[in-house]
Amino acid sequence: MSDSADTAQAARPRGAAIAAMFAALVLLTSLELVVVVVLGMDRAERITTLAGLLMAKFMLVLLFVMRARVSQLVVRLALAAIALAATAAIVLMLETVFRVGVS
C-alpha cells in the first residue's frame, strides 16, 4: 500500500469532524444571508464580503468535504485546474465590478 493511500485512510473524517465541517458551511451560508438581509453595508463592502465568504465555503468543500488535500498527484493537478477556474471567475468579476465603478 502506498504512502498516499495510507494517508487517505488516516485522513478519513470522523463523525465530529464531519459535524464541524457542515456546521461551518451552515454558519457561513447564514452569514451570507445576514450580510444581505440584515447588515446595511454599502455595495462594495457587501460584494467583497460575499466573495470572501464564497471562497471560504468553496475551499472548505474542496479541501475537507471532498478531501482534496489528501489526494494523489493527478488529483492535485485537477484540483489546481478547478481552483484556477474558480479564482479566475471571482477575480475577473470583482475586477470588472470595481473598474466600472461601484455605488
Binding site: I18, V36, L53, M66, Q72, A89, M93, T96
Partner: protein
Amino acid sequence: MPWSCGIGTRVSQVAIDGAGDGVPDSAQRGGGTGVTGMWMFLATDAMGFGGLFIAYGILRVRADVWPDPRTRLALAPAAAMTFALLASSLTMTLATRAVGLRARRVWLLVTLALGIAFLAGAAIEYAHLAMGLSSDLFASTFYLLTGFHGLHVLVGLVGVAFMLRSRFGAQALETMGLYWHFVDAAWMAVFSLVYLWPAR
C-alpha cells in the same frame, strides 16, 4: 507494472471483502481510477461553470440596467434550497463512510430525497417567476446558470438512483460523492452571484 500491481491488489481485496458485505472498500485506501477520472471530469466541468460565471459577470457589469435580485427572486425559498443541498452533501458524506451496504443505501435514499426536494424547489420557483427566458438579460442569465446547475443535480440524482438499484462498491460511492459535493459547491457560487450580489 503499476497497473498490473493495481489489478492484483484489487482482485485480492475483493476476495478478502467477500467475507464481509461484498463491498470492496478501496476508496478507504486512496481511491482508484474511478476517483481520479471523476476529478479530471470535475476539473473540466469547473471550467465550464467558470466560463459561465465570467460571462455572467461581464454581461451584468456592462448592462445599462440590472435589477436588484431581491426584486425579482424570492430569497427565502432559495436559501431553503441551499440548506437542502448542504444537507444532502452531509448525507452523501455519511453514506460514504457508513459501514455496510444497508446503511449506505439508507443515507443514499435520504440524499436522493433532498436532491429531489432541491429540484422541486427550483421547479416551483420557475413556475412563480414573473419573467421568461427571453424577458431580459437578467432573466436569460438566471435561467442559464440555474438551469445548467439543475441539469447537474438531475444527472446526480439519476446516478444516486442507479446506485440504489445496484450492488455498488465503496469506490463507486466515493466517486459519486465527489460529483455530488462538486454540485453542492457549484450551487454555492450560483446562489451567491445570482441571488445575493447587489445590483449596480
